[in-house]
Amino acid sequence: MMDALTLKDALFWAFAFLTVGFGLMVTFHRSLVHAALGLMGTLLSVACIYGLLDADFVAVTQIIVYVGGVLILFLFGVFLTRRIDDIEVSNLSVNWMVAVPAGLVLLAVILYAVISSPLPMAPVDATGPTVEGIGNEFLSRYLLPFEVLSVILLAVLVGALMMARRELKPEERD
């Protein structure tokens, strides 16, 4: 039992450091492609953290939606918009002398809130797979948010196509 606990501790620390390290790479690396790769590392590490939190369904969704979908979209965006000759143009950080202290203040404030609030000590016993619970929530009490979500996705599908398409010149129109 102790071995299992320490293994989980070690896994938590490893994935926490990976998450923060890759996150810093996203924020502070000058190359766009490296930032995208850092994002991939962060998303995968966060998926592992989800696994440690026994959120099996969300962990798999994270990998499918984020790593499989969002990240590919980002890579497409990177390769569609950057100019080949100046890879690192327009990716310089500005006003970081203000932003980093402000971020540290934000960190301190939220950490103070976390530390000073009473937190439950022990988690509840493991409840097994979460898929059933999520399905029950979505198909009973929270059916309306679920359906609104599908409308949002449809609107986004149409809206993204509208915005990203090339505008046709008048002579190209039928």
Binding site: T27, Y50, A55
Partner: protein, 102 residues
């Protein structure tokens, strides 16, 4: 049962959120700003799931699912905007996107 206390997960969530927030305000490239926004959303999701684990309810899992769907939608629209911006300005520099300034 996990031996890591809840506060550790919350600190990780706060760290991720702060890194993302700093990235959003420091980066001039619209793509990196969007990526940092994803970091912030992931930080929030970690906090959600940590509380879900300690309270043992499925609602937070459902909330995280909704956050993910909205985040994916936001990225699709955001990248479409970035492509449109690039087509107009030949650059995705947020400091150069001043067309709507009065």
């Amino acid at each position: 049962m996990t031996g890591v206390p809840l506060s550790h997960f919350l600190v990780l969530a706060v760290a991720l959120f702060t890194i993302g927030a700093v990235g959003v305000v420091t980066r001039r490239n619209a793509l990196v700003a969007l990526m940092s926004l994803e970091l912030m959303l992931n930080g929030v999701n970690v906090a959600f799931l940590a509380f879900a684990r300690w309270r043992g309810d499925a609602l937070a899992n459902a909330a995280v699912f909704i956050v993910m769907a909205v985040a994916a939608a936001e990225v699709a629209v955001g990248l479409a905007l970035v492509i449109a911006l690039f087509r107009h300005n030949r650059s995705v520099d947020l400091d150069e996107a001043t067309r709507m300034k009065g």
